[in-house]
Every structure is written in structure tokens, then in C-alpha cells.
């Protein structure tokens, strides 16, 4: 039982990553489409950067979350997966660096439109490549092509096979769909009618494409990954599959009726249920011949990770709620050029006392003595004194700039 809990964290993280970061990756595909069309490209790129800018980093951390939970709780499985699937993971890594860098640099340094072409193209290509590679890696695991061991599987066919290609392409389509719905919801909030029209059309097309591909994919699974097919067509797996199909259809209808916010929830549900379905089908095996229980770390590690996840969630959930609340309410929208409201100027008794200065120097002396000559608690105290000295000395050096200015202007330095 204990052994399964971290797996649940991983699956929740995976669903969150697909839904949130997927929407982010999908923007790359649309940038490519708009790049060919010309015209609205710049406007589209701006709108997606406005929507995604504040949230992309947080969305991205889900991937790190998945990786670290996996290697802590299921070290052998993690090592087997990453060594056999090194090629798609390297491709994903390169894609992540390129698009992240393009994003970070682009968001903060408004470049001239001509210069944007390059980073938009890098951004778009890497945004398509990364979900494909990650999807292909998942396909390799799902179709049982990753054996236990150090690079024990085939380096090529483990990720270039029918199931992997299917899931890779499905990832791209799903990401495109999610992002179109996400952007449409944002355009709706901003009441940008032109964009709503375009994005609604995009959402519907991508949604139909993703749905069709998923149905076709079941045939691929039937031929290439029979255990998954069996799992998804029997018992609880079948329920989850039906739920996923139903949520997907509902999402499409909601998009059709311009209910983008609800469509987003429904589409997320479709993704989450299919992730759960995959887990149910593969259970209890993580990799061929390795069950989740066998792969799990010892009890103390599992308890440590569960405890830290619980505490982490206490911090994380309200923080995420705050971020998405602000973002979805449009609090981050570009506001009319309004300068920083000047705060009231407080009366400042400036000029630091010599007492403070001697206290600072005292900390330096005590800290140096403690750090260099002490051991145990005395040394700890010494290091703390040094830190306190650093903070105080910094304040003494950096704060009096305003008082000095007064002095300088009144004294008229020649």
C-alpha cells in the first residue's frame, strides 16, 4: 500500500503536467501554423505570451516533480527508464532548453518584430519536438519495451515503434487542443472578439483531430500493445476509457457553445482519466517483470517522501491557487501606461549611530573568532555572527545613499 502512494503522486503530477504544461507546449504548434499564414502571427504570439508568461515556469516544475519522486521512490525503475530511453529524453531535454530560453528571453526583452522570427521559430519547433519525445518515451514504457537494467532495452525501437509514435503524435495534438481552448478562454475574458473567433475554430479542429487520433490509436494498441488494449476494454479500465471519451466529447460541445472555461475542465478530465486508465491497465507492473512494490524504495524513504509531499502540498496548493487566481482573473494583463504610484515619503532619521557600527564590528570579530577557532556550537554561533555582520554591514553600506545625496548637494562638491 505504502509503495503505491508515491506512484499516485507521480500520476497526479503527470496529469497536471500534461494539462498545464501541455497547453503551454501547444502554443508552439499554433505559432508554426500562424507563421505560415503570416498576418496575425505577431498578434497571436503576443497574446500567447501574455497568457502563458506568468504561469509557464510553475507549469514546468511539474516535470521536475515527476522525475524526483520517481527516482526517490522507485530508483531502479527510474534508472532503467532513463538509460534505455536516453534518446527521446535527450531530445526532450534539448527541446526544453531551447523553448525555455526562447520564452524567458522573449518575454522580458521586447525585440523588434524581425528579430522575433528567429526565436518564434525556435520556440515553435522545440514546442512540437518536446511533447512528441516525451509521448514516445511514455509509449515505450506502456508497450513494455523498457526492461529492467542499465540501458538494457533497444535504444531505437524502444521509442520508435507504433505505440510510441501514436502517443507522441497524440501528445502534440492534445497539447494543441488544450492550448487553443486555454487561449480561447483567455481571449473570452479579455473580450477580444477577433481572437475568440479564430481560437474557437482552432480548438474545434484540434479537438476533433485529437479525438479521431485517439480512437484510431485504440486500433494501434490492439495490434502493438495488446495488454494495454485488454486493460482498457475490460473492467475498471473500460470505465475510465469511456469516461475519458465522454469528457472529451463534452469538452468539444462546450467549446462549440463558447463555454471555454468549462471546456478546459472537461478536457483536463479527459486527460486525467486516460492517465488513470493507463495506470490501471499496467498495474501492478511498473516495468516488465518489476512490480510497483518491488521497485519501491524502503519504508523509511517512502514515509519521508510522503511526509514531505504532504507538507509541500500545504504550501503549494494555496500558492498555485493564488497564481492561477490572479492569472485567470486577468490581474496580470497589461494595464494602461500607469507609472508606479509613488509611496508616501516617510520621515527618515538618517545617519547611523556609532552604536550600530560598533555592534556590527563586534559581530565581525566574534564571528571570525568563533568560525576560525571554535568548534561545535561555538562555531555555529560564529557563523551566525558572520551572517549577521554581513547583513548589518550591507545595510550600513547601501542604505545611506539618500542622506549622502543631501550632504553632497548641500555641500556642493567641486
Amino acid at each position: 500500500m505504502l509503495a503505491n502512494i508515491p506512484m499516485i503522486f507521480i500520476l497526479v503530477g503527470l496529469a497536471a503536467y500534461i494539462v498545464l504544461a501541455g497547453a503551454d507546449f501547444g502554443t508552439g504548434f499554433w505559432t508554426l501554423v500562424f507563421y505560415r499564414k503570416g498576418g496575425d502571427r505577431a498578434k497571436f504570439a503576443d497574446s500567447l505570451h501574455n497568457t502563458m508568461g506568468p504561469v509557464w515556469e510553475a507549469n514546468h516544475v511539474w516535470l521536475i516533480f515527476i522525475l524526483v519522486v520517481c527516482w526517490t521512490a522507485y530508483p531502479v525503475a527510474f534508472a532503467s527508464i532513463t538509460s534505455t530511453l536516453s534518446v527521446p529524453l535527450l531530445i526532450a531535454a534539448v527541446g526544453i532548453i531551447s523553448r525555455g530560453a526562447a520564452y524567458a528571453l522573449r518575454s522580458q526583452f521586447a525585440a523588434a518584430p524581425k528579430e522575433r522570427l528567429i526565436d518564434d521559430r525556435v520556440f515553435a519547433l522545440s514546442s512540437v519536438l518536446t511533447p512528441f519525445a516525451l509521448g514516445a518515451a511514455i509509449g515505450g514504457i506502456a508497450s513494455g519495451r523498457v526492461p529492467v537494467g542499465n540501458a538494457a532495452g533497444n535504444l531505437v525501437t524502444s521509442w520508435l515503434n507504433p505505440t510510441s509514435v501514436l502517443i507522441g503524435v497524440l501528445s502534440i495534438t492534445t497539447c494543441s487542443y488544450l492550448s487553443a481552448v486555454y487561449l480561447a478562454a483567455d481571449a473570452w475574458r479579455r473580450a477580444d472578439t477577433d481572437m475568440i473567433h479564430v481560437l474557437r475554430k482552432m480548438s474545434l479542429r484540434a479537438g476533433v483531430a485529437a479525438g479521431t487520433l485517439a480512437m484510431f490509436g485504440l486500433l494501434v494498441l490492439h495490434a502493438d500493445a495488446r495488454p494495454i488494449w485488454n486493460g482498457l476494454t475490460n473492467g475498471f479500465g473500460a470505465c475510465l476509457l469511456c469516461l475519458s471519451i465522454a469528457s472529451g466529447l463534452v469538452a468539444l460541445i462546450l467549446v462549440w457553445r463558447n463555454k471555454f472555461g468549462l471546456a478546459r475542465v472537461s478536457a483536463a478530465l479527459a486527460v486525467a482519466t486516460i492517465v488513470a486508465g493507463w495506470a490501471v491497465t499496467q498495474q501492478p507492473c511498473l516495468l516488465p517483470g518489476l512490480t510497483v512494490a518491488q521497485a519501491a524504495a524502503g519504508q523509511s524513504t517512502l514515509i519521508a517522501i510522503i511526509v514531505s509531499m504532504a507538507f509541500g502540498a500545504v504550501v503549494l496548493v494555496p500558492s498555485l491557487a493564488l497564481l492561477f487566481g490572479l492569472s485567470l482573473k486577468g490581474r496580470f494583463d497589461a494595464s494602461p501606461s500607469e507609472d508606479i504610484p509613488t509611496p508616501k515619503i516617510a520621515n527618515q532619521p538618517q545617519g547611523h549611530s556609532s552604536k550600530l557600527a560598533s555592534f556590527t564590528v563586534g559581530n565581525l570579530l566574534a564571528g571570525t573568532a568563533g568560525t576560525v577557532f571554535g568548534s561545535g556550537w561555538i562555531q555555529t554561533l560564529g557563523v551566525l555572527c558572520l551572517c549577521l555582520f554581513a547583513a548589518l554591514a550591507f545595510a550600513l553600506a547601501a542604505i545611506p545613499v539618500d542622506s549622502l545625496e543631501k550632504k553632497a548637494t548641500t555641500q556642493k562638491v567641486p
Binding site: 515556469e57 510553475a58 534508472a79 526583452f109 500558492s319 557563523v383 545625496e405
Partner: protein
């Protein structure tokens, strides 16, 4: 059954490109670590500027906080992706280590993951919330960023400290059992000096790079209040942190001498265990001793053990195949110490002028040095990490697992390495191009006060 499974299937492989795998990992670290420095120190400096702005109402502080926060989120974004690559590489390159020890040190990264989350969430709220949140709420949103930046690096360093001084498990059939993850990571006496040393390094690197930018502006003839204030804040942080590294370094050296004597022997080129060991400056280790160096008698014994007659263990304490490459470690260590000494001199000059003469230094030579100090501090940072990481070789988990046992059996490491070099070169080119652009039109970004305006602020040129 479990343990048997792991050992038989994760037996060491024959990897002909171990060196390239190490290079690839080292390259990724070298790109990421300077960004970590900004994660540690930059939020605090930004918050300081904003606090001054809220207290004094002077727009120059608001402009500094705003400009810096934009640079901060950009660096953070690049840090997110370069950090992701590192976590990929742990599995891609070192599956042997992950399979055997992931259950011991993984917790550190799980906790770091949460810090990363908090940092990512609040950095976005902070930067995108300028002028959109109430000033006090905005200011408060910066604190989680500063705290998470420190805790995140703390957790990662706890993992590194564990690799250098492992404990909290029993090795059975090549797999860690009876694991105590909390004690392994946070009850480790090797952790604290590493953390404090890195924490101060964060301020050294961030301070000098930011100050370097303003010093460069000074040399270009831009010296308004904006530049003066920016330089004062950044340089004050660096100038206070740098000399303190010497004191902390003394602590670090004694811990290393005690817990990793072979690393110390490699840092100093001590071939044979020696009483009253001298310290050698420069020179070359020829496999026996340091030649062509300047020897300072008793100095090493004094520094490492606070006793001029102490015995310093030599490399001969361990068999030949357990010794790190001495000259790499030694050269890296001397580079770090050399640069630190130079930067300490710059710091002391600055602090003297700042506190005694109550102004900023007036000679262009000072500003030229500060421009150089930024890149130099990064070199010192990386040299320090080379010292500790190459000094740990041939072990990846010191005394328990060799790097060669950890490496992947997958083919094609040189291809991956080459690809990564190209990607980072591309990234570097783009970053350099942006910096140049920024230098040409900085006012667009900073909204600095008009430049021609003379100002008698601190130092009138």
C-alpha cells in the same frame, strides 16, 4: 529478492565514454550554477531596493527593483530549464547511482522541487504584479521567492554534501538498505560549511556581475543616480561577502582535511603524508611532489589543522586507483583562491572609500576592475566546484560507488555531448547578443532618469 534483482541487473557496464559523460555533466553544471547564485542572492537585493523605495519614495529605487526583477525572472526561467536538464542527466548519464542510491538522497531533490515550485509561482506574481498589486502585497510576494531560493539551494547542496560524505544507509549487495534519508541529508556534518560557502558565493557572483554592469555604464559615461544607486547596492553586497569567504574558507578547509583528507592532499599536491607540511603556491605536481612552486613552510599544517606541526595525510594514504587527478584539482583550487584574493582587495578598497570617505571610488581603474570582477567571480565559482567535484573522483558516492560504476551503458554519449555543446553555444550567443543590445539601449528597459542630468549623488564625475 529485491536486492538481488538490483545488483544483477545494474552490474557495472563497460562504457568507453565515461570521460565524455563527466564532461557533459560538468558542462551542464557550469551553465546552471551561476544561475543558482542569482536565485540565492538576487531576490534579497531586489527586495532591499523595493524596501528602500517604499520607505523613501524615491523613484530611483523603484526603477532599480523593477529592472532587476525583470532580469531576475529571465535568469530564473533559464535556470528552470538548465535545472531540468540536470535532473534528466542524472538518469541519462548515471543510472547506476540512481538505482543504488536514489532512495537515500532523492528526498533532497523532492524538497527542492517544492522550493522550486514556490519560487516559480511567486517570482511570476512578483514580476507580473508590478503596478497591479497593492505596494505592500507586492513587496510581501517577494519574500517567498527569496526564502525558496535559499532553501532550494540548501536541499541540493545537502545532496552534494551527502555524495562527498555519505552516511545514513547500509550497503548490501550493491544497494542501499536500512535507509535513514533525513539523517543522511541533514544530519551530515559535511553539509553546513558547503552551504554557507555557496550562500556567500551567491552574493559574490550576483553582486559583482550586477555591479560590473553599472561600472561598465560608468565607463561609457552614464553616471546618473540610477547607475550610482545600482552600483552601490550590488557592490556593497559583493564587497562584504567576498572577504568573509576567506574566513569561511578556513572552516571549509579544516572540515575537508578531517573528512576528505585525500581531496585536501590533491588540492595541495601532498604526495607523501607529511609532518609540518608546507603550502605550495603555483607549481606543478609531478606525481610525487609539487615542483617549481613557492613553498611556505608549515603553512599547510597551520591552515588545515591550526597547528604548524600537524601531520597532513598524503595521496599515498590510498591506493593509486583511488586518487583524484591532482593537477586539475590543484589548479582549480589555486584559481579560486587567487581570484578570491584579487576580489577581496577590490572589496576592501571599495569598503574603505565607502565608509571612510563616504563616497564611491573616483578612479576609472577601479571601475575597470569591477567590470572584470563579474566574469572573474564566475570563474572562481566554477573553479571551486571543480575542486570539490573532481577532488572526489574516482568516487561518485565517496568511498561507496565509483563514477565508472554509476555510468550508463547506453551508446552515443559523444553525440549527446556534442548536441548539448551546440545548444549551449546557441544559448550563449543569444544571451550575449541580448546583453549587447541591452547595453546599446538600456533606457528602454530601465526607464532610468534622463542621462544628461547632472547629479551630485555620492560621487559627481
Amino acid at each position: 529478492m529485491h536486492a538481488i534483482l538490483a545488483t544483477t541487473l545494474f552490474a557495472p557496464v563497460n562504457q568507453s565514454y565515461l570521460f565524455q559523460a563527466r564532461q557533459m555533466q560538468a558542462l551542464s553544471f557550469s551553465v546552471h550554477i551561476p544561475l543558482v547564485c542569482f536565485g540565492i542572492a538576487f531576490p534579497a537585493l531586489v527586495l532591499f531596493a523595493e524596501w528602500r523605495y517604499l520607505r523613501t519614495g524615491q523613484p530611483v529605487f523603484g526603477q532599480i527593483a523593477k529592472t532587476w526583477s525583470k532580469a531576475m525572472i529571465t535568469l530564473f526561467g533559464v535556470g528552470v530549464v538548465t535545472g531540468t536538464i540536470l535532473s534528466f542527466e542524472f538518469g541519462l548519464l548515471w543510472p547506476g547511482m540512481m538505482a543504488s542510491f536514489g532512495n537515500v538522497f532523492g528526498l533532497g531533490f523532492a524538497l527542492e522541487g517544492f522550493s522550486f515550485f514556490v519560487e516559480a509561482i511567486f517570482i511570476a506574481i512578483y514580476v507580473y504584479g508590478w503596478d497591479r498589486l497593492a505596494p505592500k502585497a507586492h513587496f510581501l510576494c517577494g519574500f517567498p521567492v527569496a526564502i525558496a531560493g535559499v532553501t532550494g539551494s540548501f536541499f541540493v547542496i545537502s545532496t552534494n554534501a551527502w555524495m562527498n560524505h555519505p552516511s545514513g544507509f547500509v550497503l548490501k549487495d550493491g544497494r542501499a538498505t536500512d535507509v535513514h534519508p533525513w539523517a543522511a541529508l541533514f544530519g551530515n556534518p559535511y553539509l553546513w560549511h558547503e552551504f554557507v560557502h555557496m550562500y556567500f558565493a551567491g552574493y559574490v557572483v550576483t553582486g559583482f556581475i550586477v555591479a560590473g554592469y553599472y561600472a561598465w555604464r560608468y565607463l561609457q559615461g552614464n553616471w546618473s543616480r540610477y547607475e550610482q544607486t545600482g552600483l552601490t547596492i550590488a557592490l556593497s553586497a559583493a564587497a562584504i561577502a567576498t572577504p568573509l569567504q576567506g574566513i569561511i574558507g578556513d572552516w571549509v578547509a579544516r572540515d575537508v582535511a578531517q573528512m576528505q583528507p585525500v581531496k585536501l592532499a590533491a588540492m595541495e599536491g601532498v604526495g607523501q603524508t607529511t609532518n609540518r607540511a608546507p603550502e605550495h603556491l603555483l607549481g606543478w605536481y609531478n606525481g610525487q611532489e609539487v615542483v617549481y612552486g613557492i613553498a611556505v613552510p608549515h603553512m599547510l599544517s597551520l591552515l588545515a589543522f591550526h597547528d604548524p606541526n600537524a601531520t597532513v595525510k598524503g595521496l599515498d594514504a590510498v591506493p593509486f586507483d583511488q586518487r583524484p587527478p591532482v593537477n586539475v584539482v590543484r589548479f582549480a583550487f589555486q584559481t579560486m583562491v587567487g581570484i578570491a584574493s584579487l576580489l577581496s582587495l577590490v572589496s576592501v578598497i571599495y569598503l574603505y572609500v565607502r565608509f571612510r570617505l563616504k563616497r564611491l571610488p573616483a578612479t576609472p581603474w577601479f571601475y575597470r576592475t569591477v567590470v572584470l570582477a563579474g566574469p572573474l567571480s564566475v570563474v572562481a565559482l566554477i573553479a571551486g566546484w571543480i575542486t570539490t567535484e573532481v577532488g572526489r573522483q574516482p568516487w561518485v558516492v565517496f568511498g561507496f560507488m565509483r563514477t565508472a560504476q554509476a555510468v550508463t551503458g547506453a551508446k552515443g554519449i559523444p553525440v549527446g555531448y556534442g548536441t548539448l555543446i551546440l545548444v549551449y553555444l546557441g544559448l550563449g550567443t543569444v544571451a550575449a547578443w541580448l546583453l549587447v543590445k541591452l547595453g546599446r539601449a538600456p533606457t528602454k528597459l530601465s526607464n532610468a532618469p534622463s542621462e544628461g542630468k547632472p547629479s551630485g549623488f555620492i560621487y559627481a564625475r
